[in-house]
């Protein structure tokens, strides 16, 4: 009887992969955001630093570059369309949805990577393994896209058991090829959850390069006015 009880307690303590994924999503999803960020693009000995500020709301975002060399360049995403404001012609150039798969200002990140309001919503867990790295207890969680809408087919996540935050992601194509690696190096507690504010992404197809994306300031689920996501605001 006692042994049976212990067995049931163990079963109850085993958290399901779905619950872990839900917890991670809860930590990383947001409806609106307001941010000021730095992008460091490194290739060999050369690096570029770009600064930008912006807002996002569900599937819309607005980005404005503020470093002197790129100042005035602005991006606006409305639904599946991307609009680019070029200060030298004081006009807007429109791109279609496929351009969102392109790299963001030449970095290892795509527009989709930085502006998904809930990046893991298309995925279902496939398998989970308990693992231990440097005395840290982690889950190794493998998730796959079941909708065909996600930018990557499969993701292998290393998840902190304590706070349910992902500390490393490996991104795979449908053919099983690992194309990107993302490492979260800094977290911030925002509204009772841990949010990654500094990540390093490596596009494994490009040698000796990485992109460090740091949110210098971030506010989540704050009121963001609708007029920001209008074309006339882009021209202002």
């Amino acid at each position: 009887m006692f042994e049976k009880l212990i067995f049931y307690v163990i079963i109850l303590q085993q958290i399901s992969p779905n619950t872990i994924l839900e917890q991670i999503r809860k930590n990383t999803s947001y409806r609106t955001s307001k941010f000021y960020a730095e992008l460091e693009i490194k290739k060999g000995k050369r690096n570029l630093i770009k600064l930008f500020k912006g807002f996002s709301k569900v599937n819309e975002f607005y980005i404005e570059f503020v470093n002197p060399e790129d100042k005035g360049i602005k991006y606006l995403k409305i639904k599946e369309n991307l609009y680019l404001y070029l200060p030298e012609i004081d006009d807007i150039v429109r791109f279609s949805g496929d351009m969102l798969k392109q790299s963001f200002m030449g970095s290892d990140l795509s527009y989709e990577d930085i502006m998904q309001e809930d990046p893991l919503k298309f995925y279902k867990p496939l398998k989970i393994i308990d693992t231990l790295i440097n005395t840290k207890k982690l889950y190794s969680l493998e998730i796959i896209d079941t909708t065909g809408k996600a930018p990557y087919y499969c993701i292998k996540l290393l998840v902190d058991k304590e706070n349910y935050i992902w500390i490393k992601e490996e991104l795979f194509t449908k053919t099983g090829r690992k194309i990107k690696e993302v490492e979260a190096i800094e977290f911030k507690k925002i509204n009772d959850r841990y949010f990654p504010i500094s990540i390093i992404m490596r596009d494994l197809r490009i040698k000796d390069s990485y992109t460090k994306f740091t949110l210098l300031e971030i506010e989540l689920d704050v009121p963001v006015p609708d007029y920001i996501f209008r074309l006339d605001y882009l021209k202002k």
């Binding site: 290739k43 050369r46 002197p68 030298e88 429109r94 279609s96 949805g97 392109q102 006339d232 021209k235």
Partner: protein, 305 residues
């Protein structure tokens, strides 16, 4: 104090551009050196924009030094309405190398700037339509041009109309489909000349490929850095590599159908950091079974405040 306040909201980009072009066939060359300033200042609904500088050009037997303002205007914008006064760029239709109103060299380089026209522009934009009217001031009040444009946008489609009133009115139509493949077409009728341009854009792996076609009834002037080109028909293939940021290749193959001359341009930009860029490339064409070959190179030193 006022100057400090102005500087606080202003943005300055100072660049020093150098460029060398050499044509092997005629042993022609030109060298350009140009310090340039781009500045913008925004406050509430107003923006002041300036782009200009000195340029020094040395050609084989001559040299030119001058000061030029490429653009300089004051803009007022309230919600979707904008009013601009000064020298500015306005390109009706779609921006691109073969746009009938995009009077720039086919190959832009690190030392080329868009040259505007003096006038007054009144525009309106919202999510589904945009209208613009541009009064272009020429040499005197008697010489002017009025350009207007109106387009509507719905989901993946955009369609528009534009007109130019100079001596008599001329009219143009354009439309685009923004799907996985982007298709843009525009046609313009002016003084019994008909101009038609189409552009098909697609992203294939890491390349952004544009296929262009340009047709007109009478010969038009085009410039490919130093080559003047008079033709009625051009087909072009433009290949960009948007994922590249430090080493940026660019390929343009075009065919002057009228004169049966194929051109190949290979351009390569090399970025050291935010402040230093280099550019090099070559242009080759085949004319009367002979190959012509030109090379060019330059550097830009950019400092932003």
């Amino acid at each position: 104090m006022k100057i400090f306040f102005l500087l606080l909201f202003a943005n300055f980009k100072i660049s020093f551009d150098t460029f060398l072009f050499y044509e092997f066939k005629n042993l022609n060359y030109w060298i350009l050196f140009s310090p340039n300033l781009v500045s913008s200042y925004s406050f509430k609904c107003f923006r002041i924009y300036f782009n200009g500088g000195y340029y020094f050009i040395k050609i084989k037997d001559a040299s030119i030094t001058d000061f030029k303002i490429y653009q300089g205007y004051i803009k007022f914008q309230n919600k979707g309405i904008e009013l601009k006064i000064g020298k500015m760029v306005f390109i009706p239709g779609f921006v691109g190398i073969l746009n009938p109103f995009y009077k720039q060299p086919i190959l832009e380089n690190i030392s080329s700037y868009l040259d505007g026209e003096k006038g007054v522009l009144l525009g309106f934009i919202n999510k589904s339509f945009s209208s613009t009217i541009f009064y272009v001031y020429k040499n005197s009040l008697k010489e002017y041009e009025i350009r207007s444009q109106f387009f509507i946008e719905k989901e993946k489609f955009r369609t528009g109309i534009f007109s130019v009133i100079e001596r008599k009115p001329s009219i143009g139509l354009y439309g685009a489909y923004f799907g996985k493949i982007i298709l843009k077409v525009q046609g313009f009728h002016q003084d019994s000349n008909i101009k038609f341009c189409f552009n098909l854009e697609n992203q294939i792996k890491n390349m952004f490929i544009s296929f262009w076609g340009y047709f007109c009834k009478y010969e038009e002037f085009f410039s490919v850095i130093a080559f003047p080109l008079f033709t009625k028909k051009i087909l072009a293939l433009e290949i960009k590599f948007p994922k590249k940021i430090f080493e940026i290749p660019y390929i343009l193959i075009f065919y002057d159908v009228d004169n049966k001359i194929p051109f190949l341009i290979f351009d390569f930009k090399y970025m050291i950091n935010n402040n230093v860029f280099f550019e090099t490339g070559f242009i080759t064409n085949k004319e009367n079974k002979n190959f012509n070959f030109s090379i060019y190179g330059g550097a830009k030193f950019l400092f932003g405040l």
